[in-house]
């Protein structure tokens, strides 16, 4: 559904050197990015601020012309077939609005029916579904400028979906949403994906969104893709260590067993770090149990957040 090969986007930025002279510096916001997304996939596109996520999304939606590389979305070349593509995709830029600021939310929705030439019955159905799922009924007749950020964002999302797009590009769609609205949006997106097989490319800084919605993750940093694979495999690739937490019957000194080392002690509770490939967890538990008497034990997986933080910091391979 989405094919990207060797994609690059450079920006010219002017830097002051000396009093009058300016130097032109060409900076690559997206640098040789390649990936493919199949129909019906839901992909999380993450990376630190300034990594090039929004720039990529703009190229995929035909708004920015790539400096180099080739790309197709739904079989179309975005910049050459922008209008045709726009009919088939839905786009939300979290920090922008496509709604009519001074008019009631409803007016923007009605216009979209004419803009996308949607049959009025289909429009009705789709709108009702959005209104129900995103709980818009309370402010359909309120001018957009009077909406709260979270209300407006739900309106934006509905606006991007009314023409039943095949592909959705969401650039920080959950920005400014409270926990309840966020959950609603996630459920709604999950349902869209499940029931209609919509392909979704989602940019977010909220890892909860990723964990709830995306099986596949693309991580970009400084314009380059540094990870492309299953969310589950990310931990294994970047964080091979696991932690065994044991509660002893009586507090004692650090347990010494082969294949693990104690990293923390708090009264009767001890944390043992082990490499998941070198040490078998079951064996380790058996060895520890042979040493000391246990009340309880758990094995902790590293949080996805910790893993990604370390990747952003460049602390991993």
């Amino acid at each position: 559904m989405i094919e990207v090969r060797g994609l690059r986007k450079t920006f010219n930025v002017y830097r002051k050197i000396g009093r009058f002279r300016r130097e032109r510096v060409t900076a690559a916001a997206v640098d040789d990015v390649s990936f493919a997304v199949g129909a019906g996939e839901i992909v999380g596109y993450v990376g630190p601020n300034g990594a090039g996520k929004s720039t990529t999304v703009k190229m995929l939606t035909g708004i920015l012309v790539p400096s180099e590389g080739s790309l197709t979305v739904a079989g179309l070349v975005p910049t050459q077939q922008r209008v045709e593509l726009a009919r088939r995709i839905g786009v939300v830029f979290g920090q922008r609005s496509q709604l009519w600021w001074d008019l009631p939310l409803r007016e923007s929705f009605d216009l979209l029916r004419h803009l996308y030439r949607v049959d009025s019955r289909v429009h009705r159905e789709q709108l009702d579904e959005c209104v129900e799922r995103l709980e818009l009924q309370g402010f359909l007749t309120t001018p957009v400028r009077q909406l709260s950020l979270g209300q407006r964002m739900r309106g934006e999302l509905a606006a991007a979906l009314l023409h039943r797009p095949e592909v959705l590009f969401l650039d920080e769609p959950t920005i400014g949403l409270d926990i309840v609205s966020r959950a609603k949006v996630r459920d709604f997106l999950a349902a869209l994906h499940r029931d209609r097989g919509v392909t979704v490319m989602l940019t977010t800084h909220d890892l909860g969104d990723i964990e709830h919605l995306c099986r596949r993750l693309l991580i970009i940093d400084q314009g380059r893709v540094i990870y492309d694979g299953a969310l589950a495999a990310l931990r294994d690739q970047f964080e091979p260590f696991r932690t065994l937490v044991v509660d002893l019957v009586v507090s004692g000194p650090a347990i010494s067993v082969e294949g693990a080392e104690v990293v923390k002690i708090d009264g009767p509770r001890q944390w043992l770090r082990f490499h998941r490939e070198h040490t078998n967890a079951a064996d380790l538990v058996a060895r520890v149990a042979a040493h000391v008497e246990l009340n309880d034990l758990t094995i902790e997986e590293p949080g996805i957040e910790d893993v990604i933080t370390r990747i952003y910091r460049g602390e991993t391979a």
Partner: protein, 262 residues
């Protein structure tokens, strides 16, 4: 066509939400009508023949009040809706729509213009009619030609404004473009002085420039100055020329387009 209408309607409605601004603007327009009228009367009285550039007193009054009425309709002092969106990056959402960008804005501009006809156009002209002796078209078809010419003036002015707004892609600064636009408009459009007040050769060349088409052209049709057919033809040609320039600029802008912000 349906979309064009829906867009115009929404832009019209959008403007109706700015009531206080409309009232204040209307008041100012009318007050300035009296001021400019007084200056015009003084100038005509002082001239030896009692007319300037072929304008007698009632024609000069018509000119004054018509320009006050049309000022907002053809947005003489420009408008920056597109430029602002380029500068803050909202242009991204405009380009993500399956619609011809220029047509989108043209439709909206007709909605805006119609609102200004009703909200800002009627009162100054009626005031002028009540207080002064205005020269009026003598036949129904001249009224009709005037209406047509106003529509063309809105389109021509839109063409100009569209181009000025798109230039912000290159300059990344609206103020310079805006003052350039205003300077060109005040000289060439007939906003400050009727084009006919300039020396003959200047007036002739002004009439073939795009700014004239946006304001003075319909007034010339109204007053019956010059050949009606010729005025309308030149307006027509300029509307298409300006829209074509705007479209070419848009294509160029999109090629080197830099959307601001993340």
């Amino acid at each position: 066509m349906r979309l064009f209408w829906e867009l115009a309607r929404r832009e019209f409605r959008r403007y109706t939400t700015y009531r206080a601004a409309t009232a204040a603007g209307l008041f100012t327009n009318t007050v300035f009508g009296f001021l400019r009228g007084a200056v015009m009367i003084a100038a005509l009285r002082a001239s030896s023949q009692g007319s300037i550039g072929g304008y007698n007193m009632s024609e000069a009054m018509s000119y004054t009040w018509l320009t006050q009425s049309m000022l907002m309709v053809v947005a003489v002092w420009g408008w920056n809706d597109i430029a602002l969106r380029v500068l803050n990056g909202d242009i991204a959402t405009d380009l993500a729509r399956p619609v011809h960008f220029q047509m989108w804005w043209l439709a909206r501009d007709f909605g805006r213009a119609w609102y200004q006809v009703l909200a800002r156009g009627i009162v100054p002209v009626v005031t002028g009619l009540l207080v002064f002796d205005l020269a009026l078209p003598a036949s129904w078809w001249r009224w009709f030609a005037f209406a047509l010419s106003v529509v063309l003036a809105v389109a021509a002015s839109f063409g100009l404004r569209f181009v000025m707004n798109l230039l912000v892609f290159w300059t990344m600064d609206w103020r310079g473009l805006s003052s350039t636009h205003n300077a060109l408009m005040s000289v060439f459009s007939g906003m400050v002085l009727p084009v006919a007040f300039f020396p003959h050769w200047m007036a002739v060349s002004f009439r073939s420039l795009p700014w004239y088409q946006a304001l003075q052209a319909p007034i010339d049709v109204f007053l019956g100055k010059g050949s009606l057919v010729q005025v309308l033809m030149i307006q027509f040609v300029w509307v298409f020329a300006m829209l074509a320039v705007g479209q070419a600029l848009l294509v160029a802008a999109q090629r080197r387009l830099v959307v601001q912000g993340g």
